[in-house]
Assembly symmetry: C2
Homo-oligomer: 434 residues x 2
């Protein structure tokens, strides 16, 4: 038992094994039962949530926080619907990613499997707990959760539902030790140092919160701190298309990570584009901050050095004129966050050059940066958006919770037979994957 | 310019973009020219190597070190052959891993691409420099190298060959800034803190060296510190097969990471197995260290607690009797290193249970742990063996140097059209992958 963390590591170890050998049917049965139990115990859940809300109101919490904290019938039904959707997803475990005959009777398979233990830290949205716990169980992972302290009572109740159902042996023999709820910041600090036991951290919440997590752990973090998204307007861009896409990327929902923050405009098109664009953006209430060359064409505020590295999350757009596509790429590599960057051009060759050169998770051609999202990409379930460069990148579906292992099936094969003169030879014959 | 590291980050940034947009033909041309140039300048390389060797001999270096340090005609020809093999591998860049129509004219592709900048730290084998630099160029990555200081002159010469060829514009316009050589330990220390610029560290060398790197950086490390490999002998195992496989796994090459270190024997088969096994192992000079129950059956040294966590890399085998397959799995999870673990059983169901439950990169049935290797697995080129649980696991081929990005191709699509009433709907139609 780890005293501070309140986790029995031996039990967690055993739970990890139990989930690893469980069948899809067992895991789906538990998820179904969780959905039923959430509905069955809804009054208890609502009153736990009411206690959290009352407490937050007594502490004069901000209105948006209380709105996120609320777990009512609408949120419950949507969470239950979410679980049903997760159940309907194909089993991500046990997929054969590669198969090869090494020699007669010696068969190699690379097979998808669970990562192990996921640490999830989220702020005050209790529905996030249900979604991520369900995704972890679906994918055969254990989970250590820490929710916002404002939602302590709700989270305790929701975790109890998962534990209660998992303990019911009529569904499966997984037991309840695959899910743990942490309650204090001290426990989170300790979890961040637990790189031997936690395989992946998924933080949800504000950028500053995610940044804090990223800089305080050596465990891989699936998430993104900033979303400083660029759009580069090439000399041959279609003006009408550019304006339409730029207004959407900036204004459709400015408070999110895939909203446009900086526009890079090729000099030769700036004279024609900027005056019209300015009119359209100002209709939407956008404040423009331009560099000196931009301001020689349109009248706007002056952009300073810090503007290029700013994620406004607001109706503000910085504009810079560039000499060439390479200047645009260099600017993106210098100030960008590797999240989502786009190009507007009528040439597919120019688009491909940009999309290959820009080192970002999502690179887009002639469309709004706002498309960069798991739901719009059709990923089924979104685990998060990642700016990790290894493992999972951009919008991440269930496969972000998976790794693989190599399975080798022999009939008593030994390596000595394959060394020295006159020895056996490997056949290395690729086999169909499934 | 980063003063201590001696790397111009602006130039590295530009080089990364140049390699990213380079074609397979260009990268292969450079590799071909490197192979030619190595042969052309072989005398200079040998004499640089001789200076390194003389220096090491003056410093009374150990014979195995000098053997590894030697870069002669045999090593050169084998390195050149290695480059030719790397050239013949299919281009790992630009593979379409997933493709989906989101709506008419809005096409999403998940495409393999280079990770960016690889940091490679290796000890005194200069041939390792050639192999990894060639693999990095093939896969479109930049590389920061640090070799053993004993090989300083050889490494400088080999790096110069890569740089010289890359600067020759008749091959490609990549330039020479994609490859850097560090020369001091201080630079390595600094590189380990450079998580903004180095995307992946690949250390080669002794276990203690790899362990040092792993515990001194937040950059992902592709490698493995220990290889504490187990074999579990189930109650129904075939005795003759078990002995054959166990002797091979322990004795065929005991100094390597995939050699067997601990044997876990089901109680009900121990009486029949152990006396015969002991005889065979002792013929090979293996020292057996058994737990109390093992010693009640055969006469051997006593295993103590530290034995279970030891990677002997020598002709020593620890043996423990277990009550059940679950006990064996628990032992492996407690003392193992997640590298390679095997089961001997005549039942495929039992084998699958073990292989699913054991959380290791490689899980084997009825064959020697020594098969766990990139060459034997038929991976083409081996970048390393990894005990990372995310990104790449077990023997890693060229794909360990790759990540992916999402490319979205539109025709002026905006998100506003997909929100609210009467809006457009996503089609989310999967497309063929290539």
């Amino acid at each position: 038992m780890n005293a501070n963390l309140g986790i029995d590591l031996q039990k967690l170890n055993i739970a990890q094994k139990k989930v690893a050998v469980s069948t899809e049917v067992e895991r789906n049965k538990i998820l179904n039962a969780v959905a039923d139990k959430l509905l069955e115990r809804k009054e208890e859940i609502y009153s736990a949530n009411l206690r959290d809300i009352n407490q937050s109101e007594r502490e004069s919490a901000a209105v948006p926080l209380i709105k996120r904290l609320l777990f009512d019938e609408v949120k419950l039904l949507s969470a239950v619907e979410g679980i049903k959707q997760i159940i309907s997803l194909p089993d991500p475990k046990g997929r054969i990613l590669e198969a090869r005959e090494l020699d007669e009777g010696l068969i190699l398979k690379r097979e998808s499997c669970s990562i192990g233990v996921i640490g999830m830290i989220f702020e005050s949205r209790p529905d996030a707990l249900i979604q991520i716990a369900a995704l972890c169980l679906k994918s055969g992972n254990c989970i250590v959760l820490k929710g916002g302290s404002e939602a302590a009572e709700t989270n305790r109740m929701l975790t109890a539902v998962f534990k209660e159902v998992s303990n019911d042996l009529s569904f499966a023999s997984i037991g309840s030790d695959w899910i743990y709820l942490l309650e204090t910041r001290e426990q989170v600090k300790e979890m961040l140092e637990f790189d031997e036991y936690i395989d992946l951290i998924i933080p949800r919440g504000s950028n500053s919160f995610v940044k804090y997590i990223m800089s305080n752990t050596t465990i891989p973090v699936l998430g993104h701190a900033d979303g400083i998204c660029h759009s580069y307007i090439h000399s041959d861009a279609d003006i009408a298309k550019t304006i339409r896409v730029t207004v959407d990327a900036k204004c459709q929902y400015p408070a999110v990570c895939n909203a446009l923050e900086t526009l890079l405009v090729h000099k030769s098109i700036a004279g024609k584009l900027l005056p019209v664009l300015k009119k359209e953006l100002e209709l939407e209430g956008v404040e423009i901050r331009g560099d000196a060359e931009c301001r020689s064409i349109i009248n706007c505020k002056s952009a300073v050095e810090t503007d290029w590295g700013s994620e406004y999350l607001d109706l503000i757009l910085s504009i810079k004129l560039v000499e060439s596509i390479d200047d645009a790429i260099l600017h993106i590599h210098t100030y960008g966050s590797g999240h989502t960057d786009s190009i507007l051009t009528e040439s597919i060759q120019t688009a491909e050059y940009f999309m290959n050169a820009v080192d970002s998770a999502d690179v887009l051609w002639n469309c709004s940066t706002r498309f960069s999202d798991g739901y719009r990409y059709g990923l089924g379930a979104e685990v998060g958006i990642s700016t990790l460069k290894i493992h999972a990148r951009g919008p991440v579906g269930l496969e972000g919770l998976m790794t693989y292992k190599w399975k080798l099936y022999g009939e008593g094969h030994i390596v000595s037979d394959y060394t020295g003169n006159g020895s056996k030879k490997f056949t290395h014959k690729n086999l169909p994957r499934e």
